[in-house]
């Protein structure tokens, strides 16, 4: 799972003027032909930098995203649900491994990425800074947060960087189970007792605002985003992805008789676009910058895991090891 997080801040000097024009045009021609870029190819600094940021954020989101759902492993209702939830959470952690490796092929070491996660320098998807109060919250995440992530990941898997595309194809294949599992859980809550229905309705009320934040604020169209779209780094606008998500899942939520807590939410038949209350982007910014209900806990859990595992890594490290980037 993943949310773009959208902490792409504009880069003041994109360095494009300093790039070798011959190399740059060969690079762009390759992308235009639909060929993928591989790690040993020449690439502009801006391309490398933005991809590292994007893939690294994605990897951190998988690792941190395992935490809110993992909260309910110990208290999942029944053995079948517990088995499935454990398998799903294991998948998410596995996805982080694939993504860290893809980012490493671009020249940022895993050590640097983990340092930047722990220090707060690198971001992860904002939605995981919210708590999963009940079992129904974990069902909301499994079904709808994963659904949002799949919209995003399917778009990105058509991008231009080979290792990232390969990782995403595997991730999307694995996530089809998450989505079906999540929907299954919610159908059973919907068809259950009044208490179960109320439990999911409450979870939906809690998670709808962060879900609307999930795809990020509307893109500012700048020369910068245009070049990233041309290079197939950014594959779809935030608003388009949000619209696609609403198109696919609002009818499914309504079908189950739940109410989405936004009186303005409706599809404009003429434009084919969804209309909704503008999400509170001030809250989004505040939470991304550290002031959300769970930011501290999420990073603290990672920090404890890193500290407690250090002696094991120290004991295992071979004196013959040297650093190389993974191949592809």
């Amino acid at each position: 799972m993943y949310g773009e997080g959208n902490t792409f801040e504009g880069i003041k000097n994109d360095g494009l003027a300093q790039e070798d024009p011959i190399q740059l045009s060969a690079f762009e021609a390759r992308i235009d032909r639909g060929e993928k870029i591989e790690p040993t190819d020449w690439m502009p600094q801006l391309y490398r930098k933005q991809l590292i940021r994007m893939i690294e954020q994605h990897a951190h989101s998988e690792i941190i995203g395992a935490l809110p759902e993992g909260t309910w492993i110990t208290r999942a209702p029944g053995f079948r649900r517990k088995l499935a939830l454990m398998a799903k959470v294991q998948d998410e952690v596995g996805h982080a491994q694939l993504l860290y490796s893809a980012a490493e092929t671009l020249g940022k070491s895993r050590e640097e990425m983990i340092t930047d996660l722990l220090s707060g320098k690198s971001k992860y998807s904002n939605i995981f800074n919210y708590p999963a109060f009940t079992w129904a919250d974990s069902c909301f995440i499994s079904w709808l947060v994963d659904a949002g992530a799949i919209v995003n990941q399917l778009a990105n898997s058509k991008g231009s960087y080979g290792p990232y595309c390969r990782a995403l194809e595997r991730i999307c294949a694995e996530e089809s189970f998450h989505l079906k599992y999540g929907h299954h859980c919610v159908i059973y809550l919907a068809a259950g007792t009044a208490k179960q229905r109320a439990m999911f309705q409450e979870a939906l009320n809690r998670w709808w605002p962060p879900m609307m934040h999930f795809f990020g604020p509307a893109d500012k169209i700048s020369a910068h985003t245009e070049v990233l779209m041309k290079w197939k780094v950014k594959m779809s606008s935030n608003d388009d992805m949000r619209n696609q998500f609403l198109d696919m899942y609002v009818p499914k939520i309504w079908e189950l008789g739940f109410t989405i807590p936004d009186p303005k939410l409706k599809k404009n038949i003429a434009t084919g676009r969804w209309e909704y209350t503008e999400p509170d982007w001030e809250e989004f910014k505040r939470v991304i910058n550290g002031d959300g209900p769970c930011n501290k806990e999420r990073l603290e859990v990672r920090r404890i895991a890193e500290e407690r595992g250090r002696w094991v890594r120290d004991a295992l490290r071979s004196p013959k090891a040297t650093y190389v980037s993974p191949l592809a």
């Binding site: 993928k36 591989e38 499935a84 490796s101 070491s109 050590e111 079906k180 929907h183």
Partner: protein, 204 residues
């Protein structure tokens, strides 16, 4: 830490975080490349990499990371540094044009596994095994034996004796995969339950 997650509440206190120190180089250990044979009779293909202290741990982690979900008949790992990589080409340029022809006096001391990149963006797949005394020699031999009119963009050569293969007695590692239905989307059919629910609510 007061959390709604009982697992988090069980974590020990480790003191206030100071300034986060940058991790030392190799704190996350070295990398190993992972190759998987998805089905008996199919060629091995490159799947990705894992960080591990040695080939044994790399094998275990590779099994968990890459063969947890979909069918697999065999797996192997090799230290990233033991993979020799050719230049990469594009468009209609065959990378074998850049490889020297085989020398007649190659003593053929070792065997090497040769991998091809058949299309940019795809995985490297196993082309075959050659005998040579060096990686350069192995690529030259590969040119003799595996080059055709098909365009190859990149070649990898791996000395066979540096690979950690799946041992004969480990071949049963993946036998129970098909039984783990809880990881299969098809095991979560909610259609009947949904229909029943809709019928009930429409009557109400």
């Amino acid at each position: 830490m007061a959390s709604i997650d009982p697992r988090v509440n069980r974590l020990p206190e480790i003191g206030k975080p100071g300034l986060i120190q940058p991790k030392a180089p190799l704190d996350q250990l070295g990398t190993f490349e992972v190759f998987v044979q998805p089905k008996e009779g199919k060629p091995f293909q490159h799947e990705g990499s894992v960080h591990a202290p040695d080939t044994e741990m790399a094998f275990v982690l590779a099994k968990e990371t890459f063969t947890r979900r979909f069918t697999c008949s065999s797996l192997y790992v090799v230290d990233t540094r033991d993979v020799y990589v050719s230049p990469i080409t594009e468009g209609d340029r065959n990378v074998y044009e850049l490889i020297h022809d085989a020398a007649a006096n190659d003593h053929e001391k070792y065997t090497f596994e040769i991998y091809h990149l058949n299309k940019r963006g795809k995985q490297h797949t196993h082309a075959g095994t050659v005998s040579a005394s060096s990686h350069e020699g192995a690529m030259a031999k590969a040119k003799q034996q595996f080059n055709s009119d098909k365009i190859i963009y990149n070649i990898w050569s791996i000395r066979t004796d540096t690979i950690r293969f799946t041992a004969a007695e480990e071949m049963d590692l993946w036998l129970t995969l098909p039984e783990k239905k809880f990881r299969d989307a098809a095991d979560y059919k909610g259609g009947e339950k949904l229909k029943e629910f809709l019928k009930k609510t429409n009557h109400a």
